[in-house]
Amino acid sequence: MTVLPGRVAASTGTSNQTVTATLVAGTLTVTAPPALVTNLSPGIDNTGIALGILAYTNTLNSGSSWSVTVTSNDWSFSTNHILFSNMTFTSGPTIAGAVGSTGTPSVGVGGALTGTDTTPGTTQSSPVTLANATSSVQGVYTQTGSTLAVIVPGGTPTGAYTGTIVYTITG
């Protein structure tokens, strides 16, 4: 018996791959440079202090408008304070969305910090808006070019001042 090489008839076939994709819950977050060092001079308005890149994410799709704000307390050294009312935040003019983002937040107006300073060195100012967005704006964004100006009154003692800047995303 002669066995001839087998030959498979030409044919087409299909193979199904089952895919299960779970869309996990979105998230809300803000990331700021952890630290910023600057030297200030007394008797002048120290303008243009770069605040670095502020990154924020809103993928909650919760149907709520959302915003990014900033506050500060007084900066203190011993019993001396640089009041938050002497500080002005300027919102970074450039907001870029990562791939997949829908829409772009509006740049906030920024402005001088205000509020009732009940406990100097502890009390945070009223919030100032760096960015606003409607509910349809969703994604991952970076805002660049934000700056801070600090008026240091003449005669303010020299030293290493401490304080806290707080960035908040609310959605």
Binding site: L28, A35, V109, N132, G171
Partner: protein, 325 residues
């Protein structure tokens, strides 16, 4: 962030010699030494515990309760996207209107008096392991005497700062908590004052939108400009659109009218349409603002030209008389 005030250790004599240079020294001291974050990837994130698992239109944290209703139990989930554990403070807070529009929870450490006081978390400080989620339960208890209306607060997750000295940077993420105590809900928006200021050939309008009712609303709006014979000249949407205004709060928005006429007058009014999450709508119009345009630069230039011509004519006449004499 460290802010260091520069001092001088120069002797009085040297200091005197260098006084003219101090301004330059001060300016050079303004170099921002802060570094950008090496990686802007999110370190953490938050979402509602039942996010995606309910049929509520606002996804979550929107509660409609009868007066004296039973407490509500819910949760917030904190995710750590990094390879190191991160500690957070979790708490309820009252909501504030931010300068420039938008909302923000009250500052850390501020004792809440409204919605923030109604929220009690199970664990006020949590540490989330690397690449993990932690759910923190909380209870909303609305006082039985709370009158009908819509109340807004927030669940706040604050990342504890790494630095222990210098000027620290704290980040917070907050989810809005929208509590409606059922009863007579009143949508009452206020539009105004409307203020117009001419700036380099444009008019920049600012408008305050106030919430005099007891229900949260968002709004859209526009400024309508008409000329002296009531013809429509321009319709300008206000920005930003879609801001929330909490009961008792207000938001400031702007609109810019480009290409104003050189001469003439106009009237501007702002119209705001407020809308609640339940779909209730209300439209209000501000008091009209009168605008007048006079080309003072051209008039003063022309006046100066005429005056110069007259002076030249007088001088020329005097010289002719002298030469004739």
């Amino acid at each position: 962030m460290r802010a260091r005030l520069r001092g001088s250790v120069l002797s009085a004599r040297r200091r005197g010699a260098l006084v003219p240079l101090l301004g330059l020294v001060a300016l050079s001291a303004l170099l921002p030494l802060g570094g950008l974050a090496a990686d802007n990837a999110p370190e953490y994130g938050i979402h509602a515990g039942l996010s995606g698992a309910t049929t509520l239109s606002k996804n979550h944290y929107a509660y409609a309760l009868p007066q004296g209703g039973a407490p509500v139990h819910d949760s917030i989930v904190v995710s750590n996207f990094t390879a190191s554990p991160i500690s957070f403070d979790v708490h309820g807070a009252d909501m504030l209107a931010a300068t420039g529009g938008g909302l923000a929870p009250a500052a850390e450490g501020v004792t809440p008096t409204k919605v923030g006081a109604w929220l009690a978390v199970d664990t006020a400080t949590i540490t989330v392991p690397p690449h993990s989620d932690v759910s923190d339960a909380f209870t909303l208890s609305v006082p039985a005497t709370t009158p009908p209306g819509e109340y807004v607060g927030a669940m706040v997750v604050a990342r504890r700062p790494d630095a222990t000295s210098g000027i620290r940077v704290v980040t917070r993420a907050a989810l809005t908590v929208d509590v409606t105590v059922l009863g007579n809900l009143v949508l009452q928006a206020g539009a105004g004052p409307l203020v117009g200021v001419e700036q380099r050939g444009d008019v920049r309008f600012t408008l305050t939108v106030a919430n005099h009712g007891n229900v949260l609303f968002t709004f859209t709006g526009q400024v309508t400009v008409r000329d002296s014979v009531d013809h429509l000249v321009s319709t300008i949407p206000v920005a930003p659109q879609g801001l929330y205004v909490i009961p008792g709060g207000h938001a400031d928005v702007t609109a810019v009218w480009h290409g104003v006429p050189l001469w003439g007058s106009a009237t501007a009014t702002a119209t705001v349409e407020a809308k609640t999450t339940a779909g209730q709508r209300s439209t209000v119009t501000s008091i009209a603002v009168q605008l007048s345009f006079v080309p003072w630069a051209i008039i003063s230039g022309a006046g100066a030209g005429v005056a110069a011509g007259l002076i030249a004519l007088v001088v020329f006449s005097l010289r002719r008389r002298r030469s004739a004499a």
